[in-house]
C-alpha cells in the first residue's frame, strides 16, 4: 500500500546507472577532481559543525576555567553547573515552558488547519475551489507590512496574550500548497471509494486523507515546529513587557543584546565580576553558550529523522509554489 501512494511529481529513481559506469574508468584527472571535491566538502562540514561543537564544549566546561580560553572541541574541566544554573533560573525555566507550549500547540493547530483547507481545494468538484485557492495564493505576494499588522493585533486585543503566537499563523500558504500537491498526487480511487462507502467529507479527510498524507504532514509539522520554536520577533514586538510570556529564544536574544553593548569595553574579567555574586560560579559567556545549546538542540535532534520527508516537500512546494 505505502509504495503505491506516491505523489505524481516523483522523480524517476534511476541514478544508480551512471554510478556503475563511473567506477570502471578513472582517469588521473578524475581522481584529482574526486580528491579535491571530498576536501572541499569536508571543509564545509568543519565550518558548519565546528561552531556548534565548540559552543557545546564551552557549555560543558567549568565557567571559571573557560575564561582562560583554549577550549576547542572538548571540555577541559567537565562540569554541568552551567546547565544546572540555567534551569534553576525561574525566568529561563518558564521561558522554556512557553517555547514548548507554543511549539506544540502551534504545530498541531497549523498542521490540522492547513491540511483541512488543502483537502478542500484538492477536491475538483468543490464549487469554491478557485475562490479559496486564489484568496490564499494572493497573500503570498501581498503583505500589509509591520505597522498595519501591529495595529491589527492591537485592535484584536491579541497583544499581551499567548494567542498572538498562534492565531496569526494558523495556516501557512506554502505549507498548504505542499499538502495540496501531495493529496493531488494520491490515486483518485482511494478518496472516491471512501465516498462511495458513504463517508462524509470530514470523515474521508480524517480517516483516509490524513493517514495517507502523513509524509506531507510531517514536513509541514517540522517547518511549523521550527518556526515556532525559533521565533523571537513576535515576542519582542507584542509581548516584550510580559515576562511570563517570554520564550527561550527571546531570553537568548536579550543576552546577546547585552553582550553586544558590553563588547565595546570587552574584558573577560568584567563578565566574571558581574557573575561572582551568584551561588555557583557562572559567567555570562558560559551561560550564553549553554542557552545557545538548549535553544538549538531540540530542532537539531529532530530534523535528521524527517530529512526524507522535507526534502520531498521542498521539491514539490518549492518549484510548484
Amino acid at each position: 500500500m505505502a509504495n503505491t501512494v506516491r505523489p505524481a511529481a516523483e522523480p524517476a529513481p534511476q541514478p544508480q546507472q551512471p554510478k556503475k559506469m563511473h567506477k570502471r574508468f578513472q582517469s588521473p584527472g578524475d581522481r584529482i577532481f574526486d580528491t579535491l571535491n571530498v576536501l572541499v566538502l569536508s571543509l564545509l562540514v568543519v565550518f558548519t559543525l565546528y561552531p556548534f561543537i565548540n559552543t557545546l564544549a564551552v557549555s560543558l566546561n567549568d565557567a571559571n576555567d573557560s575564561i582562560k580560553g583554549g577550549i576547542y572541541l572538548l571540555p577541559r574541566d567537565l562540569s554541568f553547573d552551567n546547565y544546572k544554573y540555567v534551569f534553576k533560573e525561574a525566568t529561563i525555566f518558564h521561558a522554556t515552558l512557553i517555547s514548548i507550549l507554543r511549539t506544540v500547540i502551534g504545530t498541531v493547530v497549523t498542521v490540522f488547519c492547513s491540511a483541512m483547507v488543502a483537502y478542500t481545494i484538492s477536491r475538483p468538484e468543490f464549487v469554491l475551489r478557485k475562490f479559496v485557492t486564489i484568496m490564499f495564493i494572493l497573500t503570498m505576494y501581498l503583505n500589509g507590512g509591520l505597522i498595519p499588522n501591529y495595529l491589527l493585533m492591537r485592535d484584536l486585543d491579541l497583544i499581551g496574550t499567548f494567542w498572538v503566537y498562534i492565531v496569526p499563523g494558523i495556516i501557512g500558504v506554502f505549507n498548504m500548497i505542499v499538502i495540496r500537491s501531495f493529496i493531488e498526487g494520491l490515486p483518485d480511487g482511494i478518496i472516491e471509494s471512501a465516498r462511495i462507502d458513504g463517508a462524509g467529507e470530514f470523515r474521508t479527510f480524517i480517516q483516509i486523507v490524513v493517514p495517507l498524507a502523513l509524509p506531507a504532514l510531517a514536513t509541514v509539522a517540522l517547518f511549523t515546529g521550527v518556526y515556532q520554536w525559533n521565533s523571537w520577533f513576535d515576542v519582542f514586538l507584542y509581548n516584550s513587557e510580559k515576562v511570563n510570556l517570554s520564550t527561550l529564544q527571546y531570553e537568548l536574544m536579550k543576552m546577546l543584546a547585552n553582550s553586544n553593548s558590553n563588547s565595546s569595553m570587552t574584558s573577560a574579567s568584567a563578565f566574571a565580576n558581574s557573575a561572582n555574586s551568584s551561588s555557583n560560579f557562572v559567567t555570562p559567556s558560559s551561560i550564553r553558550a549553554t542557552m545557545t545549546i538548549v535553544a538549538s538542540l531540540p530542532m537539531i535532534i529532530v530534523y535528521p529523522f524527517l530529512q526524507k520527508y522535507f526534502v520531498k516537500g521542498m521539491t514539490v512546494g518549492g518549484v510548484k509554489g
Binding site: 546507472q17 574526486d34 582562560k68 483537502y119 500589509g144 470530514f202 530529512q307 518549484v319
Partner: protein, 321 residues
C-alpha cells in the same frame, strides 16, 4: 422576432443555473465548513492590514479613528526621499539584497554540483544532512555563534586562526568596523542556508537523463565538460524560476541577522529598510512614515516580480504565472 424569443431564454436559464449552483453549494456544505472559516481568517489577518496602508497618506495618531486622521497626501513619501537616513538605508538594502541573491545562488549551485559528483553514497548523505543543520537554528542562535566566533575575546576562533597564520598581527573587532558588515552578513547567510538551498537543485539533477552522461563519457568528455554541458543546462529551468521568485522578494533582505548583529558601530552598513520601519514605527511611534517605507518596498517588489516574470516569458523560459 427571433431576438425577442431569444432574450427571455437566458433569463429563464439564469435562476435555474443559480439554483443548481446553490444546490451544489448546499450539497458541499461540509467542504464549505472546512474552508470558509479560514477564508474569513485570512481576510482578517492578511487583507485587512492592507487597509492600514492608508496610514502612509495621513499624519497618523494612534488615539484617533481612521476617519478622524489628518490627510497629508504624499508628504510622508516626500520626506522619505529627502531623508539622508532613508537613502542610506535604501543603499544598504540594495547592496545586501544583491549580495544575498548572487552569493546565495552561486554557492548553492556549486555545492549541489559538488554533492552530485560525490561517488560514495554514505559521504554524500552525511554532508547533506550536516549542511542542512544551520537552517534549523534560529537567527538568535546563529548570531550568538557568529558573534562569538568573531569576537576579540577568548573563543574568537576567526581572529585566533588568522593570527596563527600570521595574516593579521592583532585581533580585529569584526562587528565593530562598519564596512566589514556586508561581507559578514553575506557569509553568515551562506553559512546558514547554503545546504538547504541545494535541495531543489539536487532534486532537479535526478531528473537529468543518465544516458546523457554515459554518451558524453564515451565521447571522451571530461568531468568538468559534463558539468558544464549537461548538469548546468539541466538545471536552467529551476534556476530561472527560482531567480524570478527571488527577484520578487529581493528587497525582503530580512532583518533578523541585521538586527541581531548590528550595533552602533556598524549601523551605517547594517540598517536596512525593515530595520528603518521598525525603528521609526515601533520605537519612535512614527507609524505613517514607517508604513510609507513599507509600501515603497512592496511596490518595488511587485514591479520586480512582474518584470522578471515577463522577461522569462520573452526568453521562452518557464515562468511563475
Amino acid at each position: 422576432m427571433r431576438d425577442q424569443t431569444a432574450v427571455p431564454a437566458p433569463r429563464a436559464a439564469e435562476p435555474s443555473a443559480l439554483n443548481r449552483w446553490f444546490k451544489t453549494l448546499l450539497k458541499q456544505k461540509t467542504l464549505i465548513f472546512m474552508s470558509v472559516p479560514f477564508v474569513i481568517w485570512i481576510f482578517i489577518f492578511k487583507y485587512v492590514p492592507l487597509w492600514g496602508w492608508l496610514i502612509a497618506f495621513q499624519h497618523y495618531r494612534p488615539n484617533l479613528t481612521m476617519f478622524q486622521q489628518e490627510w497629508v497626501g504624499l508628504e510622508q513619501f516626500r520626506f522619505l526621499f529627502s531623508d539622508d537616513t532613508f537613502i542610506r538605508v535604501l543603499r544598504n538594502t540594495l547592496v545586501q539584497a544583491v549580495i544575498k541573491l548572487v552569493l546565495g545562488f552561486v554557492t548553492a549551485i556549486v555545492l549541489a554540483i559538488l554533492l552530485n559528483e560525490v561517488r560514495v553514497a554514505f559521504f554524500k548523505r552525511a554532508v547533506q544532512t550536516i549542511s542542512y543543520l544551520p537552517h534549523f537554528i534560529s537567527w538568535v542562535v546563529a548570531a550568538n555563534i557568529i558573534s562569538t566566533a568573531l569576537s576579540i575575546d577568548e573563543g574568537g576562533i576567526v581572529n585566533e586562526v588568522l593570527m596563527r597564520l600570521h595574516i593579521i598581527d592583532q585581533p580585529i573587532m569584526w562587528l565593530g568596523v562598519g564596512h566589514y558588515f556586508w561581507g559578514i552578513l553575506g557569509t553568515s547567510e551562506v553559512w546558514k542556508d547554503v545546504g538547504w538551498n541545494t535541495i531543489v537543485y539536487l532534486a532537479a539533477m535526478t531528473m537529468i537523463d543518465p544516458s546523457q552522461y554515459e554518451a558524453a563519457e564515451i565521447d571522451g568528455a571530461s568531468r568538468l565538460q559534463r558539468i558544464l554541458h549537461i548538469t548546468l543546462p539541466g538545471l536552467k529551468p529551476v534556476i530561472v524560476i527560482l531567480l524570478i521568485m527571488n527577484l520578487g522578494s529581493i528587497l525582503e533582505t530580512g532583518f533578523e541577522p541585521q538586527y541581531l548583529m548590528g550595533n552602533g558601530m556598524n549601523a551605517d552598513y547594517s540598517e536596512n529598510l525593515e530595520i528603518f520601519v521598525l525603528k521609526y514605527g515601533i520605537s519612535m511611534g512614527n507609524f505613517s512614515l514607517a508604513t510609507a517605507a513599507g509600501i515603497f518596498k512592496t511596490v518595488v517588489s511587485f514591479i520586480l516580480l512582474f518584470t522578471a516574470n515577463s522577461m522569462a516569458k520573452r526568453f521562452g523560459e518557464q515562468r511563475l504565472f
